[in-house]
């Protein structure tokens, strides 16, 4: 019993956020999480391997046999038909995943870092700095995302539509609106942790303020981040699609974009051409549902009161019978009596 891992210590993999929850979950919650994770995995894989999966390029209008033809029904050369502009629907849907993923990445990375740093500083230092930041955050929070996205789309792209501009517009507007959310969550945690005994103990030792903020406060404040990130991600997709639908999105020759395709298919709906709108629409819904399912089940699993567990078996495992080590002495511990028992001694929260 010297250098080996203490019993009950989970391996590195099972301590990772999502994987730990997956092992914890049972029943309906597990089902939800698995469905969500599967959809997300398909989405990400499609985005990464779009060039290999898609039969045609996103802006391709003709191949060796000539033009594709507009509004062809599904079947034959075009599995899901073609759009009014003569693009292949299947290829547009697959390439669109790439755009959506990029938008999520930009939005999340930009807002996470700024929101967290501001949250920790504001929560830990407090005082007038905290008040000002909270007021600003509230003001920004009241701003409609879409309006902001439209404005930033115009500013960034200067009226010229391209992949970079469109994604950045959606990403930036999400960032601005979501920073207050990260800020609020991290700040609330920081305020709570600030009064914990271990932070006071660090102060008593004479630890510097930066070290306290990042080593002691921030590391303990990140519990609810995975949840907000997933909610944030679905919001990013919505905004990108809405921008495209409203005509501020990305032109078809720069990138495939589900919102833009939906916009162009409005007139098709009344004339019985269903395939141009159903497929990009379904793609948006599926990704949002997938991401939300993951977020929702993470939320349930994070809360011990909402988490369902397997029923206790009548015959317990032998190590579990001992729940406490009253006054374990050094000798007990060395002989191994107390080891393996301690992990069971968890306080009810």
């Amino acid at each position: 019993m010297t250098a080996e891992q203490p019993p009950g210590r989970p391996s590195f993999w099972s301590r990772l956020p999502v994987i730990r929850q997956l092992q914890q979950s049972v029943g309906l919650q597990r089902g939800m999480l698995i469905v969500g994770l599967t959809i997300c995995a398909i989405f990400i894989l499609t985005a990464i391997f779009a060039p290999l999966i898609a039969p045609y390029g996103f802006a391709q209008l003709r191949d060796a046999h000539g033009d594709f033809g507009a509004q062809d029904p599904p079947g034959g050369k075009h599995l899901l038909g073609t759009t009014v502009g003569g693009y292949d629907v299947l290829s547009r849907v697959i390439w669109g995943a790439q755009t959506a993923l990029l938008a999520i990445l930009v939005a999340v990375t930009l807002s996470v870092f700024l929101g967290i740093v501001l949250g920790v500083v504001s929560g830990y230092i407090g005082g007038w700095l905290d008040r000002i930041l909270v007021v600003i955050a509230d003001a920004v929070y009241a701003f409609p995302t879409l309006l902001l996205a439209i404005v930033s789309a115009i500013i960034i792209s200067q009226g010229q539509s391209n992949l970079f501009g469109g994604i950045l517009a959606a990403g930036l507007s999400i960032t601005v609106v979501f920073i207050p959310q990260y800020f609020r969550v991290i700040r609330a945690e920081a305020v709570r942790i600030k009064s914990e005994a271990y932070v006071e103990s660090a102060k008593v030792v004479g630890t510097g303020i930066i070290r306290i903020m990042f080593r002691h406060v921030l590391r303990n404040a990140t519990r609810s981040l995975p949840l907000i990130i997933t909610l944030n991600a679905s919001e990013a997709i919505f905004t990108l699609a809405a921008l495209g639908f409203l005509g501020f999105g990305i032109e078809p020759n720069s990138a495939a974009e589900w919102g833009y395709d939906l916009n162009k298919s409005i007139s098709d709906v009344t004339s019985g051409i269903w395939w141009t709108s159903i497929f990009p629409g379904t793609a948006i819904v599926l990704v949002v549902v997938g991401v939300t399912l993951v977020g929702e089940s993470l939320n349930d699993l994070a809360d011990p009161r909402l988490r369902t567990r397997r029923r206790a078996s009548r015959v317990p495992s032998p190590g579990a019978a001992v729940a406490v080590v009253p006054g374990a002495t050094l000798d007990d511990v060395l002989s191994g009596d107390a080891l393996g028992i301690v992990p069971n001694e968890t306080e009810p929260r």
Binding site: A202, P316, P326, G327, E345
Partner: protein, 554 residues
């Protein structure tokens, strides 16, 4: 005579994220009418779970087997609706923390009436009359007006009286009291124990008393069941159990309870060993005043009022007082966690009034601090070794936790923890082990002054005994001066060279253990001493009379 409650072969298993845990294993108990049965045991022994099973209050994750006969009903088999009919009428519960057991947004009268309305038709007027009557019976003065008060308008002891009134209002045959006095001060505890005794004598209720405090057991119980690891290891009537405990666990438990008066000889010995040369004091407080700023338009709250004391090198000063007496505030002001607002406080020669962090920082390496709750005083994401190394790293004695490891191992050995525990995380240690690690951390820089703020109040008795022993050993070895803050006179008596008693922010008495504990001068100290229940039913009965005569004198 028929038993009020009869438990046969009760077993309760909890589902957890890990393996399932057996909390109660094959427990059989009976309680006769008008009897007080105490269930004692340390945390995790299953005593609370057993008590909750009597009311059918177990959470969904629990699986029960066995029989709990309450009158003619088997609680284990009852449905939710049937349980509701039984609760309150046949059995009632008194909770540990009176301030959370009462709903803050309703008046106490309403909350008492709530129980009545659940079990019969009462008009508003009748319910109110009944509430007033019961409040009067549990000793709330002026019940006609106070029935309309909200919980926050009562003191802690009065709140517990209200909770007991709620339990008594339907005249149940059995009251389950789960640690009813743990959250209360010693002097208030004595009053509540008196009230519970009256519950039995005047209302004829049987009581199941759950507690870890052997003094409380000796004071109130007729019969005692000792639980350990979910099993009952010994069951006997109170006098027999305290006089001749049979089970080795009970013997150890009783031996670990600190008793008053044991520290005096020990103190004399230490005083003789200490060099008599009077050096400059390590801590010197002169007319110290600490105020917490009030809200706008209100006066500041004076937590510490005109307190003067000194701590010399190598000396242990015990600071005793009830909650709100300002003892923790004094401890925190010494390490600059709380601002000094008046008078003078010199720590290691540095005046603390108006001190800036930059002036004080270099002195921090000379001061150690042990916190009350070992569970929260470690960063849960750092290993024990990293936590203990933190002071060394911060003060530049080591570059990182890895470089500090040899020293950390030495420290862990000094507090009798195996080296390998350094790789564990705080939640993987038991309370006592964590508190030892906390001692190791506070000693890492070899401080000349150690502040210990109730270091053992969150621990079980037997663990407490070991930590206290360790503390005095370390003190001998390292020779630091210490301020030992506690609400428990017996604990302070074990360790301290001198004892200072605080009451409402004022220092009412200071002296050696022999002076303060044997011949207390101030009436408050006298009352405090008399209120402390001793773990011996015979002696406790005598002390109870003494306390009563003290109270009638007032």
């Amino acid at each position: 005579m028929k038993n009020v409650v009869e438990i046969r072969d009760l077993a309760i298993t909890f589902a957890t994220d890990g393996a399932s845990v057996v909390a109660v294993d094959n427990v059989s108990l009976t309680v006769a009418p008008g009897e007080v049965l105490a269930i004692v045991g340390e945390s995790g022994s299953g005593k609370t779970v057993t008590a909750k099973a009597i009311l059918g209050l177990l959470p969904e994750t629990a699986t029960e087997s066995g029989v709990v006969m309450l009158g003619a009903n088997d609680i284990v088999q009852l449905s939710g609706k049937q349980l509701r009919a039984v609760r309150g009428v046949d059995v009632a519960m008194v909770f540990q923390e009176p301030s959370t057991a009462l709903n803050p947004v309703y008046t106490v009268g309403w909350q008492i009436a709530e129980g009545l309305r659940a079990h019969g038709k009462y008009s508003r007027k009748q319910a109110r009359a009944k509430a007033i009557e019961i409040l009067g019976k549990v000793g709330i003065p002026d019940p006609e007006t106070r029935v309309d008060y909200y919980p926050h308008q009562f003191s802690g002891g009065q709140k517990q009286r209200v909770v007991i009134a709620m339990a008594l209002v339907l005249d149940p045959g059995l009251i389950v009291a789960d640690e009813p006095t743990t959250a209360l001060d010693v002097t208030v505890q004595a009053e509540i124990l008196d009230l519970l005794r009256r519950c039995r004598d005047e209302f004829g209720a049987a009581i199941v008393l759950i507690t870890h405090n052997m003094g409380v057991v000796a004071d109130l119980a007729d019969r005692v069941a000792v639980m350990y690891n979910g099993r009952i290891v010994e069951e006997a009537d109170a006098r027999t159990l305290f006089a001749s405990p049979k089970d080795p666990y009970t013997q150890r438990l009783l031996a670990a309870v600190p008793k008053l008066g044991t520290g005096i000889a020990h103190t004399r010995e230490r005083a003789a060993a200490r060099p008599s040369t009077e050096s400059a004091p390590v801590v010197e407080a002169k007319n110290l005043v600490i105020e917490y700023a009030g809200r706008f338009g209100r006066n500041a709250f004076r937590a510490v009022d005109d307190v003067s004391f000194r701590i010399y090198a190598g000396e242990v000063l015990g600071l005793v007082g009830e909650s709100g007496s300002g003892k923790t505030t004094i401890g925190r002001s010494i390490v600059a966690l709380t601002k000094v607002t008046g008078g003078s406080l010199k720590v290691l020669g540095q005046e603390m009034r108006g001190v800036r962090e930059s002036q004080f920082k270099h002195l921090r390496s000379d001061i150690g601090f042990v916190f009350q709750d070992p569970a929260s005083s470690f960063n849960p994401l750092l290993s024990i070794a990293e936590c203990v190394a933190e002071p060394l790293v911060v003060h530049g004695r080591a570059d990182d936790a890895g470089a500090a490891r040899p020293r950390v191992n030495e420290l862990l050995e000094a507090v009798q923890l195996p080296k390998s525990f350094g790789d564990r995380f705080p939640h993987e240690l038991s309370g006592g082990q964590r508190q030892r690690a906390s001692l190791a951390r506070s000693l890492a820089l070899e401080p000349t002054l150690l502040i210990a703020d109730e270091p053992t109040s969150a621990l079980d008795v037997s663990v407490q005994a070991r930590v206290l022993e360790l503390f005095s050993e370390l003190q001998r070895e390292f020779g630091f001066a210490a301020l030992f803050i506690s609400h428990d006179l017996a604990v302070v008596d074990l360790l301290a060279d001198r004892i200072a008693v605080l009451y409402q922010g004022k220092l009412v008495e200071e002296g050696t253990g022999a002076e303060v504990l044997v011949a207390p001068k101030h009436p408050y100290t006298q009352r405090l001493l008399a209120s402390l229940p001793v773990p011996d039913p015979v002696e406790q009965a005598v002390r109870r009379e003494k306390l009563r005569s003290l109270q009638t004198e007032d």
